[in-house]
Subunit: 130 residues, 3 copies
């Protein structure tokens, strides 16, 4: 298992982590298998989405903030219940296919670290199975 450290800069932020995942798969020299990308946090998840137009990332954050507002009337006194809910809906782990030594993604897909309670020092974990 590999732990990758990243730093987030905003409360809500979508960060492309495709490159370090591809680098790890290349180093592992796995011909065929799967890779689990895991967020060990409760207010930051892992997702996939379009890598072409940056407005897509803005729209996802805008939608989540409007639908799951900080001032929804939550009881958790840390004031980040919205962040916990966003994490559970987006998911804390994703599994991808490795084929012919490569991470298999669709043409427009990138893998994203989804920060919902930054800025913070964060990490994600990688585990390959072949």
């Amino acid at each position: 298992m590999k732990k990758v450290h990243i730093k987030t800069n905003y409360r809500n932020e979508i960060i492309d982590i495709t490159q370090p995942i591809q680098d790890y798969i290349k180093k592992q020299k796995i011909k065929s298998g799967v890779i689990v990308v895991y967020s060990p946090h409760t207010t930051a998840g892992i997702s996939v989405n379009e890598n072409a137009d940056p407005d897509v990332k803005k729209d996802i954050i805008q939608f989540l903030n409007k639908t799951i507002p900080e001032d929804f009337g939550f009881q958790h006194t840390e004031g980040n219940s919205d962040s916990h809910i966003k994490g559970s809906l987006i998911n804390f782990s994703q599994t991808f296919i490795i084929n012919d030594f490569s991470l298999m993604l669709g043409t427009w897909q990138s893998i994203y670290f989804m920060e919902f309670d930054g800025p913070r020092n964060r990490e994600f974990w990688l585990k390959t199975i072949s």
Copy 2:
């Protein structure tokens, strides 16, 4: 890895893909393992739900369309930000258990391809690990 091609017919559509997945597992003759079902798209995901009453599929689509409307005020100029968000919330991949040469599903479960920006030619990818 196997790529399966499908054609969708509507902008939002839920298509049962359980049978081709079961067929692939049978051909692979895997006694015990897991299978990853992966959508290489950014506006179409993979989910699981009830296979008995077709109204459940209608209700899921109706809820998603009302909660994530096309005219939410998005910035992405292709006009399908709602489709991207639906995909991220539903998820682009799912992992299932293979036991005794069979795909393990609950009594009422089917696996669904979730189209959110059709009609289009689509595909989903299958990868088994044992």
Copy 3:
């Protein structure tokens, strides 16, 4: 594959299932791999979230109930379309990393069985791959 039986007590309930999953991994004596935690139901899922403040669980349930109300105007006559939708959004399975004979979770993470149409007798399935 192992089937674990549980009983839920409320229509919407979040139950910590981390301990039985850790116990299973210890018994299996797997040094390195992944584990799939699977809900074979269509109205109960698997998620991860904070294990410290019980208010987080209350806030998640409150948010889901307000955003996906029973009386949304659904067509499915069993009256539990909200439960099906909650399940698809939360997800019916999650994959976790096993490293050095241990289930790898973040400091604040627990694994939760998410009941959305209880009380019922339920089960979840565990499958390790190394």
